[in-house]
């Protein structure tokens, strides 16, 4: 299984088949596995995607409920893109683009689940990372939100980025290689 620049991977499988675990392993958050992962065709013993090239968005989004969307995104930019000169106007624009206008300075615990998800997904708009690992990005999003993120992923792919994602929603709008974990399940003896 290998993925090239501009390609995407959709990891499918039933609940408990290990989708999240697989994404965590690829992201380098978990070492509890057998087998090998290579990044840029390296054959090193412990190859992990360069952290500066990786955007990981898990089930837990890392949005602090006591902070405003603006504070949340600025914090993430400082943390994960410290070398890029992304100003506050760019951060504001990203949040507005994803549909948060009047809520920019409202603490996130006042926002709905879908809006909180949007705060996290606004990272995709400012992202400079080459690999996106998205675990169920469409959870709690409405139709317009989903199509917006889909467009975002398409743009990312066309500019040479990679996507590895899971989703229970239909992702027919996206060009993704399918990986069904059910095909790799161990047969019970």
């Amino acid at each position: 299984m290998s993925l090239r620049s501009g390609q995407g991977l959709h990891v499918a499988g039933s609940n408990g088949s290990g989708k999240t675990t697989l994404l965590k392993i690829i992201a380098g958050l978990s070492n509890d596995y057998h087998g090998s992962i290579g990044w840029r065709c390296s054959n090193e013993l412990n190859p992990v995607i360069d952290k500066s090239d990786l955007l990981y968005l898990g089930h837990l989004t890392g949005v602090k409920s006591l902070l405003t969307p603006l504070e949340n995104l600025s914090w993430w930019v400082s943390l994960c893109l410290p070398a890029y000169p992304i100003g506050s106007d760019e951060i504001t624009r990203a949040l507005q683009q994803i549909g948060l206008n009047s809520e920019l300075n409202t603490p996130c615990h006042f926002l709905s689940a879908g809006q909180q998800r949007r705060v996290a997904l606004a990272r995709l708009l400012v992202s400079q990372q080459r690999v996106w690992i998205l675990d169920e990005p469409f959870t709690a999003l409405d139709h317009s939100g989903i199509s917006q993120i889909e467009n975002c992923i398409k743009r990312h792919q066309s500019s040479g980025g990679m996507v590895i994602m899971t989703s229970h929603q239909v992702v027919s709008n996206l060009e993704l290689i399918q990986l069904n974990l059910a095909d790799y399940q161990q047969r019970p003896n």
């Binding site: 965590k24 992201a27 380098g28 958050l29 978990s30 070492n31 509890d32 360069d50 952290k51 500066s52 990786l54 990981y56 898990g58 089930h59 837990l60 989004t61 890392g62 949005v63 602090k64 409920s65 006591l66 902070l67 504070e71 600025s74 914090w75 993430w76 400082s78 943390l79 994960c80 410290p82 070398a83 603490p107």
Partner: protein, 233 residues
């Protein structure tokens, strides 16, 4: 040279981002810095009542009372150090940042100490009054608590990082940290006792400083490992 300067700037930016974000969060939830302070005052009141208002005995035992109370206050507050970050997924982002996790851990502990340990230091005058300790030794007392709460925060953070993924890790955190707290407890209480009795301070003070330096430098190594395994769980 240019690259390394950039690198330094990036580390600095991550450090300040984490530090100020945590401070913002703590100040929006007032309990995070009021509760430890409130706790220490309540416990000292209970101690005073338990001693049957015997001012003489209180004064004699004040060093250990102050230390045990400060230790418990720090320990109880440490439960929250990584908990919210673990619950909302910030911890994963922290670990996946390309910048050094060591500095991130330092920033988090420093911010946490500033809202939990430092108020205790600021409350030293009140504590001295309640326990009948002479106000003349206030500077020494404050310095002792300043160093002491720092040591307690850094060492306790190891236990906090190891237990953060557990549903009820609070008690376990205390169980793990208590043995490690013994040196700090011994030298801290000794220092306060020396200060109150007017004895030379250098031996216990230098030990406290040494312990603090060792804790600041070494404990993040264990904390980093603890956080990584907690995210994996």
């Amino acid at each position: 040279m240019l690259v390394s300067a950039n690198e330094n700037f990036s580390s600095y930016r991550v450090f300040t981002a984490i530090f100020f974000r945590d401070l913002t969060v703590y100040f929006r939830y007032r309990g995070s810095w009021i509760n430890p302070l409130f706790f220490i005052l309540v416990v000292i009141t209970l101690f005073s009542l338990g001693f049957g208002a015997d001012n003489q005995a209180l004064r004699v035992y004040s060093p250990s009372i102050i230390w045990v109370t400060a230790l418990l206050a720090v320990l109880l507050s440490l439960d929250s150090l990584f908990k919210t970050d673990f619950d909302d997924g910030s911890l994963e982002q922290l670990i996946l940042s390309s910048q050094s996790l060591y500095l991130s851990v330092l920033a988090k502990i420093l911010a946490h100490w500033l809202v939990t340990g430092f108020p205790i230091v600021l409350a030293t005058p009140l504590i001295s009054l309640m326990l009948g300790v002479s106000l003349e030794v206030l500077p020494e007392l404050s310095l002792g608590l300043l160093l002491g709460t720092g040591i307690l925060s850094f060492i306790g953070a190891i236990g906090a990082s190891l237990t953060v993924s557990l549903a009820s890790g609070g008690l376990l955190l205390s169980l793990l940290s208590m043995p490690l707290y013994v040196p700090a407890m011994i030298f801290g209480a000794q220092y306060l006792q020396d200060a109150i009795a007017g004895w030379p301070l250098m031996p216990s003070l230098s030990m406290l400083i040494g312990l603090l330096l060792a804790a600041v430098v070494l404990s993040p190594l264990a904390i980093m490992a603890g956080l990584k395994l907690s995210v994996e769980a």
